[in-house]
């Protein structure tokens, strides 16, 4: 098994979100960054588990600048063998997918893993684009994956349920919750991660296809109307007559 895991860096889930005064840029002051949870907990851990079971290698790839190396080292500490960083600002999903496709195209990976989505831009776009660029089958939002030789059995999330699919040969999979359990890197992993190879490559030419006009914060809530626990009928009246939602 030769796998590639695409990892991205996102603000910590408790971050307070704010933007520059023109609304164009995300304010990173005081923000701590983490590996995108879907990439770390589910995609990477499942890839490492498959390597432990079936042998092979796990390579991680990130499109970003040198400040991402800390996240990449964490992936190596969790169990990836080596890493590639495409040294470029990840301007949009088309750009990111183009970079990963350029690296992956001649390397015949058995599985290319991504996370379900990044928790900052929530696009769930890169996987489908990458699969198309590489002309591979794509299974999104997978929450279970079994590999038997060339054959893969994959369960994926769909609205209100799941579906189970079978395919054979190389594929692109985006990983959702339940695919694996989060692993905390141990001391040995952390020590080894420092010696594992991290190759920095220059980006291929690709232009962005979308442009940020502005960001806005949601309007502030007007505050809660509390209803007495002994007067539940009043809540129903408010929902019916004031909010008009029931």
């Amino acid at each position: 098994m030769k796998t590639l895991v695409c990892i991205s860096k996102t603000p910590d889930t408790t971050s307070k979100i704010s933007f520059s005064s023109d609304g164009k840029n995300f304010n990173t002051d005081g923000i701590s960054f983490i590996m995108n949870p879907y990439d770390e907990w589910y995609a990477l851990v499942r890839a490492v588990e498959l390597k432990e079971k079936l042998g092979g290698t796990v390579t991680v790839i990130n499109v970003g600048d040198a400040s991402n190396d800390i996240v990449i080292r964490k992936a190596l500490a969790i169990g990836a063998d080596d890493a590639i960083r495409v040294d470029a600002n990840p301007i949009d999903s088309f750009f990111v997918a183009s970079q990963i496709a350029a690296v992956a195209k001649d390397k015949s990976y058995d599985i290319i893993f991504l996370g379900k989505e990044t928790i900052d831009y929530n696009g769930a776009e890169v996987g489908a684009m990458l699969a198309e660029m590489l002309d591979l089958p794509y299974v999104s939002f997978a929450n279970k994956l079994e590999v038997d030789g060339d054959a893969k059995t994959i369960r994926r999330e769909i609205e209100g349920g799941t579906e189970t699919l079978k395919l054979s040969g190389p594929c692109v999979i985006s990983a959702a919750k339940d695919m694996a359990q989060q692993r905390i890197p141990n001391m040995q992993g952390i020590l080894m991660s420092k010696r594992k190879p991290l190759e920095v490559v220059t980006p291929v030419g690709a232009s962005s296809r979308i442009e940020v006009i502005k960001h806005d914060l949601p309007p502030a809530k007007k505050g809660v109307t509390l209803v007495d626990a002994g007067n539940v009928a009043e809540l129903v009246r408010l929902l019916h007559e004031e909010a008009k939602v029931i």
């Binding site: 088309f94 919750k177 006009i213």
Partner: protein
């Protein structure tokens, strides 16, 4: 050049979600035509004309949900019908397909739009939620061809025309390399991303054996059920009910959160709901800050009463 909207029937009929997309397409098209492609058979396909479709097409061969197959069908249809913009629903299959369509057409993609795009200075600008509901971003798509996916419940279908005839469109449906071996769906209730009413439970319920209290409320309201992440992690509820930053993001008209503290990661998935009701015995629970209405009280007493009151309302209506 026109806008192409992709609509999938549900058990042979087009429901509100499909009409919503037609309206979205017509409002996006402006002076251009809004064409709707129905993938599958629907007895009421012509009604799409009422909600904004200028022309309705159907293909008789229904492709399986393999993004490779689906995206080819959609991209071919878009070229055959000379469309500059393709609009697809932002559900699991739509998201898996849209990125591929964008690459095939050389198009820019904005996914999970939550309001109708605006044409400003010759640019199409699309707004969507980012940072798990904590902010919105507006993007201009800078390519000639454009692909947009749209969240359910983004707009209401509007009557803006009359029923139209349905034309058939010939497209090649290539074979799929993916075999669907099983499907497991929760029947009865609307899927979470499309649900207008959602009732949700957290750790305050103490255990799965108490969930009938919430299910009764859901039945009375005809609402879909959801839960917090620890509840799904503990297998009290199926994992596809888990809402929040690492679960599903929803934006129903009404979200009733019961025994949920309102952690920032939970709020991330629900704070775009139109009306939020919180029932929690702790007056300091952070969820009250994000709520429109609240009751400080013991869920085991409050929720059954709420269910009764709702039944009374419905009986009277």
């Amino acid at each position: 050049m026109s806008v192409l909207v992709i609509v999938e029937p549900n058990n042979g009929t087009i429901n509100k979600g499909g009409f919503e997309l037609a309206t979205f397409g017509k409002l996006t098209a402006g002076q251009d035509k809004c064409l709707v492609l129905v993938v599958g058979k629907a007895s009421n396909a012509g009604d799409l004309g009422i909600y904004g479709a200028d022309e309705v097409y159907e293909i008789d061969q229904v492709p399986v949900h393999d993004s490779a197959v689906y995206s080819k069908v959609i991209a071919d249809a878009s070229e055959k019908l000379s469309c500059h913009t393709v609009i697809i629903k932002a559900n699991a299959n739509g998201k898996a397909t849209a990125g591929r369509v964008a690459i095939k057409l050389g198009a820019g993609l904005v996914s999970a739009a939550n309001s109708v795009p605006e044409s400003t200075g010759g640019q199409l600008q699309v707004k969507r939620g980012v940072f798990s509901g904590k902010a919105f971003a507006t993007y201009a798509i800078t390519t000639d061809k454009k692909v947009i996916t749209v969240l359910g419940n983004s707009i209401q279908p509007k009557e803006m025309g009359s029923a139209t005839s349905v034309q058939s469109l010939q497209v090649d449906v290539p074979p799929s390399t993916i075999e669907v071996v099983a499907k497991e769906t929760l029947s009865g209730r609307a899927p979470l991303p499309e649900a207008e009413l959602v009732v949700s439970g957290g750790r305050g319920f103490k255990g799965p054996e108490n969930w009938n209290i919430l299910l009764d409320l859901a039945d009375a309201l005809d609402a879909t059920t959801a839960c917090s992440r620890p509840v799904a992690d503990a297998d009290w509820r199926p994992h596809h009910e888990h809402v929040g930053q690492t679960g599903i993001a929803i934006r129903p008209n009404l979200y009733i959160a019961v025994g949920i503290s309102g952690a920032i990661q939970h709020l991330a998935g629900v704070n775009n709901s139109k009306t939020i009701v919180v029932i929690n015995k702790d007056p300091e629970a952070p969820f009250f800050k994000a709520a429109d209405y609240g009751i400080v009280g013991d869920l085991f007493e409050v929720v059954p009463k709420l269910t009764e009151e709702i039944k009374k309302l419905k009986a009277g209506a």
